[in-house]
Amino acid sequence: MNRRDFNKLMLMAGVVGTAGIPLGIRRAAGQTRGGTLDVIIQPEPPVLVAAINQQAPTLTVAGKIYQSLLKFDFDQTPKPGLAKSWEISEDGLTYTFHLYDNVTWHDGAPFTAADVVFTTTVLLAETHPRARGNFARCDSVTATDDHTVVFKLKEPFGPFLQCFEMSSCPIMPRHLYEGTDYRNNPHNATPIGTGPYKFKEWVRGSYIRLVRNDAYYKPGQPYLDEILYRVIPDAASRSVALENGTVDLTQWGDVEMFDVPRLKQLPHVEFTTKGYEFYAPLLWLEFNNRIKPMDDKRFRQAVMHAIDKDVLVRKVLFGLARPATGPVSKATKFYDPKVKTYDFNPAKATALLDQMGLKPDGDGKRVSLTYLVPPYGEVWMRFAEYIRQALSKVGIEIVIEAIDIAGWATRSGNWDFEITAPWLYQFGDPALGVSRTYVSSNIRKGVLFSNTAGYSNPEVDRLFAEAALAVDPAKRQELYSEVQRLLVEDVPVGWLVELDFPTMYDKRFHDLVVSAIGVNDDFDAAYYEG
């Protein structure tokens, strides 16, 4: 029994006979009602409807309002969400979900299987690019009764359960959206979900206020009275806000990495990097494989040997990362540790470059490439500067070009770059978050986060396709191990680090981070102990 189960038991005991339990024990069990959680939200989300907008801050707030059928443990194991149980047929084609029968929407209407059918087949197909791809794999989605939904797939799809995580499939109220213009539905301004917290008010530019949903389907939950998301645009001000107790929780990139070592020492602050396993952001140097000399794998291998990832982790990222070994993050299913590694060895790098015939000129310079720095904060410029320094030692000159978000998105999507350094989410399974970067079918000009490097290898395409369709996990592991071996040899992109995001919170709050989506989860078990 873990602590949370124990707490639940204590709570039930409390419900039965609170009077008999001394106050001290009740307090030790925690989970008393009350408390306002002050959180930073940055940047301010455009809307709070996760089905319509999937930007990071939208999901963080919307995660408290909207829910999906499943939640995921830190190791990606599915847990009940709106579905209390589920079965998968032997052939991997039929998924049956049994929904909780006491769930209501925030406007009082009952939540039923029809909402799930509408959301997955009609609404998300219009508004959500990832869900559109996932649910296009379904042959049919039917509600066999009010609380049972059956998904029949056209062909097996290994990670299908992972498609029911909140940001991938937020369930929407059919009675408010059916037949409307989803993007301009008036309810977008006052979101109605099934989650533990209800939308109360939004003062643009200042804050978003959520309040407890007293009709939540889990008895006694949620515990917090309110969650207040404050918009604080300046990074230094955000650090001050955590320091002086104006806010109780910072997440994702709220605090610049160089402030983290100082802030996590504060006596009232708890620090964790758990809760990002589902996303498992992996950062790489993206080489435009169409441009010489980056079209030669020896060049890309040389770059891997020329960069000391430990220095990146320690000196640039303040320990908030781990060296990456390949295309699959260690937090993601089917990661294979037994792949070729590129040790930090400038001599090997220069040998490879010499072998290619890329000779240094009088100044020791072999080639000059432009590095487009993604505009996500101070740290990424320092990161680029380290790369420039490391590569200059083997004769590769890097010209750093700074750009804003819109410019970066456009140029990266349009293949108008030589080197850049994006980080992408893995979404728990290689078929969802890994293959998109490497398969030929995803070379699509103008589309960000597709195979923008332009790598193409028929064998890799085949392995990814087969692995996605395989049902047996052992078979999938075999295929993904093979694809990892191939990719690590080819180095289509230079994997550098698996990023950790710092979550820092006031010690009086508990159970904020309990799943693989951490701060984006619904906080229905979070409580305050003042």
Binding site: P43, E44, P46, V47, N53, Q54, Q55, A56, P129, R130, R132, G133, R183, N184, N188, V203, R204, G205, S206, Y207, R209, L228, R230, V231, I232, P233, D234, A236, S237, V240, A241, E243, N244, T246, D404, I405, A406, G407, W408, A409, T410, R411, S412, G413, L424, Y425, R444, G446, V447, L448, F449, S450
Partner: protein, 326 residues
């Protein structure tokens, strides 16, 4: 009378034409920046496909040729419609309406403080040029002028919010139980202290330096010498003869600076999480939210024109000769 009416009408037409030219220019400028809003929206959601891009472009008419978009935009401007935000899914006029009061409160207060105290200190430094008062004021002004706004803001937060805990560091008012009346005014006022002080400090320094130079220049004019020769007291000479004339360049400059003040508020609004127009603009730039950006530019242009009219009026009050001349 008829003459002045015709003058006003001519001026109004001039202003309307000017606004249309400004709107066209803004439109071209905004669209000249690389990057399109559809890509930004897609880029921040961590996933994207052709359908999403096409949907967004079609929804906002971004798939139309540029001249069609421009004509549509100008037609809308002419009918006082500022359009619809790509990102926030709200009418631009509503967004600006929500933010403008906060910005005006911040900038007007800071402006008046800066102008008032700046002129006062400048006068003081000017009439005591070379003495220790002048040295202290001049050095202080130079320091404030050279200081980066965000740094000054953060230092004030560190001292008055973090260390001393006297003043709130962020926001427009306390979030919590609804407060009204005098309590609300006091609450907003305490929230204003640090951002206003930060913004005012920079401009105060400018006006102080300008006023000092102006005073010193006026001091050597013949009519001042005459006034002195008449045996007027020094205080009287300063008040009655020097201030008016010395103030003219400061007021003219302040009118020009009013637009820049809104620009300066971007930084202050960011540091202090102040929900104003400056931040709205900054975010709109980052998001390539064209309608919001154009709306803000237009509103600011109108404000600047209004401020220029006002400056004209004020200079004429200060120096009636200008009114007679023009």
């Amino acid at each position: 009378m008829l003459n002045s009416l015709r003058g006003i009408a001519a001026r109004m037409i001039k202003i309307a034409v000017m606004i249309l030219i400004i709107a066209t220019f803004n439109f071209m400028l905004v669209h000249a920046a690389p990057g399109d809003p559809a890509a930004v929206i897609a880029g921040q959601s961590g996933a994207s496909d052709e359908k999403l891009l096409a949907q967004v472009r079609a929804e906002y008419g971004l798939d139309q040729p540029l001249h069609v978009q421009l004509t549509d935009y100008l037609a809308k401007v002419a009918s006082f419609d500022l359009g619809y935000s790509y990102r926030q899914r709200q009418p631009v006029s509503v967004l600006i309406g929500e933010r403008l009061p906060a910005t005006l409160l911040l900038t007007v207060t800071a402006f008046l403080l800066a102008l008032g105290i700046g002129s006062l200190l400048g006068t003081l430094a000017g009439v005591r040029a070379g003495k220790w008062t002048d040295t202290v004021i001049s050095i202080a002004a130079l320091l404030f002028y050279a200081m980066p706004v965000f740094w000054l803001g953060l230092m004030l937060v560190l001292i008055f919010s973090v260390r001393l805990d006297w003043l709130p560091a962020f926001g427009f008012s306390t979030i919590g139980p609804t407060i009204t009346g005098i309590d609300l005014v006091l609450d907003v006022a305490t929230h204003m202290v640090l951002p206003v002080a930060t913004l005012a400090a920079i401009y105060l320094a400018i006006y102080a330096r300008l006023m000092r130079a102006s005073i010193i220049e006026v001091e050597h004019q013949d009519y001042v010498k005459t006034a002195r020769a008449k045996g007027l007291a020094r205080g009287q000479v300063i008040r009655r003869h020097m201030l008016r004339n010395a103030l003219l360049p400061v007021v003219t400059f302040a009118g020009v600076q009013a637009g820049a003040l809104i620009g300066g508020s971007v930084v202050v609004e960011t540091v202090f999480a102040w929900p104003g127009l400056g931040r709205l603009t900054f975010e709109a730039v980052m998001q390539r939210d064209y309608p919001v950006l154009l709306g803000v530019f237009l509103v600011m242009s109108v404000l600047v024109i209004a401020i220029n009219l006002l400056t004209d009026l004020i200079t004429r009050i200060i120096d009636p000769r200008l009114a007679r001349a023009g």
